[in-house]
Structure formats: structure tokens, C-alpha cells
């Protein structure tokens, strides 16, 4: 098993210690504050529809850019200014998957959404957040297929 990218595993471990809903929310808000939208050097609005995360109502977009070492840099944007959960999810993926071994990125299971956000998120939101992860995993698999 390739395991998960170390930074992602750190996040999962940290969230595993959370015992209250308020703690979880405060942690996620702090992470969402770190969200940085895709730089203009990579993409400018209006974005290509191919980058859109299908099924994410917060209108998340994902870009995967090749790095010289064979890994990927991931970039994100969330067009809905109220899409804080999507921003938090993107910030986690940005920090943990950019430059990580592709096999580890490709191994991420969408179920980690529920470790981060809890199991009482709405079906729609859970699906949208999972689809952001799926987009990252898909990009990693595509890159692996080219190696």
C-alpha cells in the first residue's frame, strides 16, 4: 500500500483527535483562511469548463500542473464566496498533494471527507467535497498513466 501523502495523513490524525463539533468547525475555518485561489500564471477567469469539479455546488475548479520531478502541483479555485467547506477541502489538498508521490495521491479515498467534515454533513455537500478529491485522484492517475 502506498499510504497517503504525509501531510494529508497529518491532517487526518489531527482531525482524529477532535471531539466536538465546535472544535471541528473552528479547525476547518482556520484551514479555509489559508485557501489560496489559482494564481493568474496558471489560469484566469473565465475558467475552462474542463477544470470544473462536476457535482460541486460551490463551483470548485482544479488544475494539475506537471513538475520537473514528475509529481504534480495542484491549484484550486472556488467561485462561490460562501463555499467555505470547499475552500477548506481545497486548502488541505493543495498543502498535502502538491509535490507528493503520485501513487500516494492516487490512493486517496474520498471517504476521508467524513474524517474532516464529520458524518452529519448534507448528502450534497459530502458529494461535492468528495468530487474535489476525486478530481485530484483522477489527475494523479492520468499522470501515472503517462509515465
Amino acid at each position: 500500500m502506498p499510504g497517503y501523502p504525509p501531510k494529508l495523513q497529518d491532517y487526518l490524525d489531527d482531525f482524529g483527535f477532535i471531539s466536538t463539533r465546535d472544535e471541528r468547525i473552528d479547525f476547518l475555518i482556520a484551514i479555509s483562511d489559508d485557501f489560496e485561489p489559482v494564481p493568474a500564471s496558471v489560469a484566469t477567469k473565465p475558467y475552462e469548463e474542463a477544470q470544473r469539479v462536476i457535482g460541486c455546488e460551490s463551483e470548485a475548479f482544479v488544475w494539475a500542473i506537471d513538475r520537473p520531478d514528475g509529481t504534480l502541483d495542484f491549484h484550486f479555485d472556488v467561485l462561490n464566496p460562501q463555499g467555505l467547506s470547499a475552500m477548506a477541502m481545497c486548502a488541505i489538498l493543495d498543502q498535502s498533494c502538491s509535490g507528493a508521490p503520485l501513487e500516494q495521491v492516487a490512493a486517496i479515498n474520498g471517504e476521508v471527507v467524513f474524517t474532516f467534515f464529520g458524518k452529519d454533513i448534507s448528502m450534497g455537500k459530502g458529494r461535492g467535497l468528495t468530487e474535489i478529491i476525486n478530481a485530484v485522484v483522477y489527475a494523479a492517475n492520468q499522470r501515472l498513466a503517462r509515465l
Partner: protein, 286 residues
């Protein structure tokens, strides 16, 4: 967007503007309530003095698929500091879809002195109005609620079955893909919360969001009539049922039909597709 009173609604008093809320923030007898899908939004910043009502932990019974009961509602009302005389004003994300859901639940307990802030959270924020992370200090109140009355604005499975056998009016407010059942078969969507895809026989499809403008405000009565009366032929005098997946999006349409267009008998079927699409023996259409 035009002034609420100029839009031709049957009951314009059910809507207030962001200006009205800003002018009444500190009024005794008024409680501003934020209800969102995204649980991060209220703690990240809310209208000063607003309290949060969360659709999961506050409105639903934790052990049964049902809403809170009389004692639960009384405890909630006490926590958010309202009495039966308080005017409650809901606002939230997703063009107020969750705000109308909370309002609908409050009306099950007879708290009809409930309004929605037109445009919701997004409009307030985009107007540059103040948002704070400071939670208000609320003095608990005593609230004596009646038993929840499910008989007037809520629909149940058997009632919906009888309704369609009588060729009653039914509005499916989900997306076209959900309505046709196509979404169940899309790659990446292994479950849609139901075994089968499609819709309740006889239902017309009007996605809930068609009632809202881009900025989250409600369309004018003339625009709404063009959709619900002219386009799909609903009769405001006939019993009507709205449904979606779990009853949240359809509460938005329920609010529109009942309060803005004055439908005399409209119910929200909160069992919705997650019940109907999973039930043995119930007919569906694709």
C-alpha cells in the same frame, strides 16, 4: 431588485429586505436566525446578534427520521431566546433554501410570525454589511409550544400516493437529471440516496432555483406565475405537493407557492425521493 412590496406577492410580509434587517437588528421582539447547509458559515461570520439554527442538530430528531417534537422545539426556542410573540427572521446560504426549511419547521409548531430575509446571506455579504464572529449572549426564554401539527403543510407517503391517484398537483424541484433518473447512472455517482431513479408519477419538474434571481432574491410574482401557472399549469386553488430528495429544496418552493403566490393548500413532502425511490411497491416514472 425591486422593493418587495412592489413585486405583487400575495403575502409580502413574509419577506424582509437586508435594509429592513439592518434597521431592526437591535429591536426587541425580533430575532435574526441564520440557517445554512454549510456549518462553517455562521461561525466564520454572521449578522450581528443573529443566532444559528442548524438543520442537523437543531431541527431533526437524532434517532428517528422526523423533526424535533414539542419539547425539543421548546428547548430550541428557549436557547435562541424567542417567545411565541417574537418575530423570527431567517436567512442563510443557497438562496435561502435552508432558511425556508427552518421556517417551514417553525410553522409546524405554529410559529407563523416568521419571515425570510430576501437574498439571504450572500446578498447581505455582497452589500458589504457587517458580519461578526461574536456569538450573541442570549437569555433563555420560556416557550410553550403546541404539539407539532403535521396536518396542514406537511405531506406523508400515503397521502402523496392518494394525491397522485387523484391526479393532484405535484412539483418535483430537483435538477432535471435527478427528475429523469439519469443521475443514478452517471459515473462517479454510485448512490443518489435511492435505489431507483426517476420521479413520482405525474410530477412536473421545476428546479427550486428557478424561483430565485442570481443574487438569491425571489423573482417577482409575475415571473413566478409564468413558471408555476403558465408553464406547468398549476392551479393555486388546488392541493399541491412539492418534493425533492429530503424536503429541503422543496421547502423553498413551498415558501414560494404558499406565501408569494398564495396557493391555498400546499404541502412539503419531506420524505421526498429518498423515501419514495426506496419504497417497495410505489410507482415511479422516468
Amino acid at each position: 431588485m425591486s422593493d418587495i412590496n412592489s413585486r405583487g406577492y400575495t403575502n409580502p410580509d413574509k419577506l424582509v429586505s437586508t435594509d429592513w434587517v439592518a434597521a431592526n437588528l437591535n429591536e426587541a421582539g425580533i430575532r435574526i436566525i441564520e440557517s445554512n447547509e454549510d456549518p462553517l458559515l455562521y461561525p466564520s461570520g454572521h449578522i450581528p446578534g443573529a443566532v444559528e439554527v442548524d438543520w442537523v442538530k437543531d431541527l431533526n430528531d437524532p434517532l428517528r427520521r422526523d423533526y424535533l417534537d414539542k419539547s425539543g422545539f421548546e428547548a430550541l426556542a428557549s436557547r435562541i431566546g424567542i417567545t411565541s410573540e417574537t418575530t423570527v427572521v431567517f436567512y442563510g446560504d443557497k438562496s435561502n433554501w435552508w432558511a425556508t426549511y427552518a421556517l417551514w419547521v417553525f410553522e409546524l409548531f405554529g410559529h407563523s410570525n416568521a419571515k425570510v430575509m430576501d437574498g439571504g446571506r450572500l446578498k447581505w455579504a455582497e452589500e458589504g454589511r457587517e458580519l461578526t464572529r461574536e456569538k450573541p449572549s442570549i437569555s433563555p426564554t420560556s416557550y410553550s409550544a403546541p404539539e407539532r401539527d403535521d396536518s396542514q403543510i406537511r405531506a406523508f407517503r400515503d397521502g402523496v400516493l392518494a394525491h397522485i391517484q387523484d391526479h393532484g398537483q405535484l412539483v418535483d424541484v430537483r435538477s432535471p437529471g435527478e427528475y429523469t433518473g439519469e443521475k443514478l447512472h452517471m459515473e462517479g455517482y454510485p448512490q443518489e440516496g435511492a435505489v431507483r431513479g426517476g420521479h413520482i408519477p405525474g410530477a412536473d419538474n421545476v428546479p427550486w432555483s428557478r424561483a430565485a434571481n442570481e443574487d438569491g432574491t425571489f423573482k417577482t410574482a409575475a415571473e413566478l406565475r409564468a413558471i408555476y401557472l403558465d408553464e406547468i399549469g398549476l392551479n393555486p386553488e388546488q392541493p399541491t405537493v412539492a418534493y425533492c430528495r429530503i424536503g429541503e429544496r422543496s421547502s423553498h418552493t413551498w415558501f414560494v407557492l404558499r406565501n408569494l403566490l398564495g396557493f391555498s393548500d400546499v404541502r412539503n413532502y419531506d420524505g421526498s425521493w429518498t423515501e419514495w425511490g426506496n419504497s417497495v411497491g410505489l410507482p415511479i416514472e422516468k
